[in-house]
């Protein structure tokens, strides 16, 4: 039995809905229905299943009905016709009381603009869903703290939302949804309001979190890259209708129609992305005057297997491998003259991603991005490219939801 089953779901905004439904039967589109009846078609005849533990991404441009759809799943919006089944239970038939119970027991929701309560502390925000269930305060705070820890926000319990950055606020939003330990996470454009770097981090964290918590997730986005990265399956919508349902590979390989194709073409455009746009801060580096012990210590602490080495003027000198540093220590070397390698891959910030992929394919160490004067600007590892270049992912990897290394550890 699927976790969520959606069948022939239609929502007409406005009353009475019958004339619009009739026109819909005749195959008229949204614009025509609005013109003739004054009613707005939200979603039309939507059907798909979501399996337990799956991430389904619903994507489409704004106004395609995806927000309406996600709100029909927990009945924040009343569907006009059709059915939504959660664990085999048709929620359209539930009375108001049971709907509240269902929302408390099965759903957690994350919102585009965070929707944190400004008058409550972070802890009180996260505990909101538990408070609504009238949970005992001590247990409630425990659970909320645990949830905050999960998203890496310990220490902020007593702060107010306005004191946090956007990325942190959305972590709170996520913690609030996770605190109630829901079966189903509904994420409505959850990362769309974040700036691109933070957004990428959050996507990675969601994937990592999901590998631990194994929730059923319905994720709404207008961004195909995000959809490809997060989705086990993708539901593409347009003007209220579902255009295509499939795995990321299926959607990229065989777009159902022109509309999907246009999206996929947009992905190709991401190949114009360059090393400069996908690189990350190099993080920890070594210096030319450091001894092998210093470097090895630094690598061990970060569990890196190699470390970039800079000259005093921040130009790139080369890199040192952990095993070489260990050998140098055994030999009793005091400097790194013998073990410094200079053959590492290095590119300018204008290097296109397509070139980077080839470089990354046969190297263990991060690609260094350097300026014309030789200064280190940042590094690129596989996951950076993967996250930016969904196309490459779909071509080369089995599943886009599992990055092959964590973004923080180059050359792990």
């Amino acid at each position: 039995m699927p976790k969520i089953r959606i069948e022939n779901l239609t929502k007409i905004f406005g009353e009475p809905a019958e004339p619009a439904l009739e026109l819909l039967e005749q195959g008229l589109d949204r614009k025509e229905i609005l013109k003739r009846t004054g009613l707005t078609l939200g979603i039309a005849d939507v059907s798909f299943d979501v399996e337990q533990g799956e991430i389904v991404v619903v994507m489409g441009l704004s106004g395609c009905g995806k927000s309406t759809l996600i709100r029909c799943i927990n009945r924040l919006i009343e569907p006009t016709t059709g059915c939504v089944e959660i664990d085999g239970q048709d929620i359209a038939r539930l009375d108001a009381e049971s709907v509240l119970k269902l929302r408390r027991s099965k759903f957690g929701m994350v919102f585009q603009n965070f929707a944190l309560f400004p008058h409550r502390t972070i802890l009180e925000n996260v505990a909101f869903g538990l408070e609504v269930r009238n949970m005992d305060p001590a247990e409630r705070d425990n659970r909320a703290n645990e949830s905050l820890r999960q998203v890496g926000l310990e220490g902020w319990e007593q702060a107010y939302p306005a004191q946090l950055s956007g990325g942190m606020q959305q972590r709170v939003g996520l913690a609030r949804a996770l605190a109630v330990d829901p079966d189903i996470l509904l994420m409505d454009e959850a990362f769309s309001a974040l700036d691109p770097l933070i957004r990428r981090d959050m996507q990675h964290e969601l994937i990592e979190l999901q590998s631990q918590v194994k929730k059923t997730i319905v994720f709404i986005t207008h961004d195909l890259d995000e959809a490809l990265k997060l989705g086990d399956r993708i539901v593409l919508m347009k003007d209220g209708y579902v255009v295509q349902v499939g795995t990321p590979e299926e959607i990229l390989a065989s777009p159902a129609n022109r509309y999907v194709e246009r999206f996929v073409e947009d992905v190709d455009k991401s190949q114009v992305l360059t090393a400069g746009t996908v690189m990350r801060d190099a993080g920890a580096v070594g210096f030319r005057h450091d001894g092998p012990r210093t470097l090895l210590h630094r690598m061990e602490k970060l569990s890196y297997s190699s470390l970039l080495v800079l000259n005093r003027d921040n130009t790139l000198a080369g890199y040192v491998l952990a095993e070489d540093a260990a050998a140098a220590i055994r030999r009793g070397d005091q400097d790194i003259n013998d073990i410094l390698k200079t053959d590492g891959p290095r590119v300018g910030p204008d290097e296109p991603l397509t070139g980077l992929i080839n470089l990354l394919a046969d190297t263990r160490i991060p690609v260094a991005v350097i300026s014309e004067s030789g200064r280190l600007l940042g590094t690129v590892v596989k996951s950076n490219v993967l996250s930016a270049l969904a196309d490459a992912k779909a071509g080369e990897h089995d599943t886009p939801t599992v990055p092959d290394e964590s973004p923080e550890a180059p050359a792990a």
């Binding site: 408390r104 759903f107 929707a115 309560f117 909101f128 609030r176």
Partner: protein, 284 residues
């Protein structure tokens, strides 16, 4: 040429209203008189409590309260203002006025809050009460005094009745506004987590509406103070009584003394209530 309306006679609106009020008075006088007695005794009791101890003790109490609620500056201002009033020999009149205003405001809030909340939650109710509020606010306040007298008798309670009606609309309006301007997405978030209507109201809507509601209460207090002179005309006493006496005797000096006293009371109440509203604003 006749100034009379052609075809039909004058509609006897005044007579209808009189008859209606007479009937109401006849039917409900025993209730309204009872209310009058209870409230009148209550006001007398509080005035007595405030004027029994030496003024410096009461001033110290008010100063501490203002300091606690609104900070040092307001506390000091309160002390200075009240000491000045004591010096002007307006102490008893000031306490009478203060009591009257606080009683009227309390009654107003008790009625206005639930109505305002309902108005914030129900569009239909909101549309139903709006014209009534307009009526209450624009009708000259004097007019309320006339029917108040047969209901409550001469004195403080009639004055309170007129004050309550006149000063209620802003409290209702701003409560409604406060509830309505809670961002829709926060209400939706509360819904998504399965909050009942009651939980939504108590945990989300009311707390976020507090600053706006306090602004309404502040307005109510100011309007109530503006009624004290009018209320004095039916024997409410207090600072309004002093002004009224000065008007009748054409003594501008006395009139200004009492007028300034009203301003001082107004400023103290204004600053304190404003601070309470600000303190409840989110994002400290």
């Amino acid at each position: 040429m006749s100034q009379d309306f052609p075809f039909i006679d004058k509609i006897p609106l005044a007579r209808y209203i009189d008859q209606g009020l007479d009937w109401l008075t006849f039917q409900f006088a025993f209730i309204t008189r009872a209310i009058s007695t209870v409230l009148g005794n209550g006001v007398d009791l509080v005035v007595h409590l405030l004027t029994y101890p030496p003024p410096w003790l009461v001033i110290a109490g008010f100063t501490a309260l203002a300091w606690y609620l609104a900070g040092r500056r307001v506390g000091i201002g309160t002390a200075a203002g009240l000491l000045f009033l004591w010096n002007l020999q307006l102490w008893v009149a000031t306490m009478e006025t203060l009591t009257l205003v606080l009683f009227a405001t309390t009654v107003t809030i008790c009625i206005a809050l639930p109505i305002g909340i309902l108005g914030g939650l129900s569009e239909r109710f909101h549309r139903a009460i709006m014209p009534i509020l307009d009526f209450m606010q624009t009708m000259p306040a004097f007019v309320y005094l006339i029917p108040a007298i047969p209901f409550f008798g001469l004195g403080q309670v009639s004055a309170m009745f007129a004050t309550v009606i006149f000063s209620m609309p802003p409290a209702i309006r701003l409560t409604t506004l406060g509830i309505r301007q809670v961002p829709q997405e926060l209400v939706e978030a509360a819904d998504a987590f399965g909050a009942t209507r009651r939980q939504k109201l108590i945990m989300v809507q009311l707390p976020l509406a507090v600053p706006t509601i306090m602004a309404g209460i502040n307005q109510t207090i100011m309007l109530a103070l503006s009624m004290v002179v009018i209320a004095a005309m039916i024997g409410a006493g207090g600072l309004g009584g002093e002004v009224w006496r000065a008007i009748q005797r054409l003594q501008p000096g006395d009139g200004f003394e009492a007028g300034i006293a009203i301003v001082i009371v107004a400023m103290i109440l204004d600053r304190v209530t404003q601070h309470i509203g600000r303190k409840h604003k989110p994002n400290p």
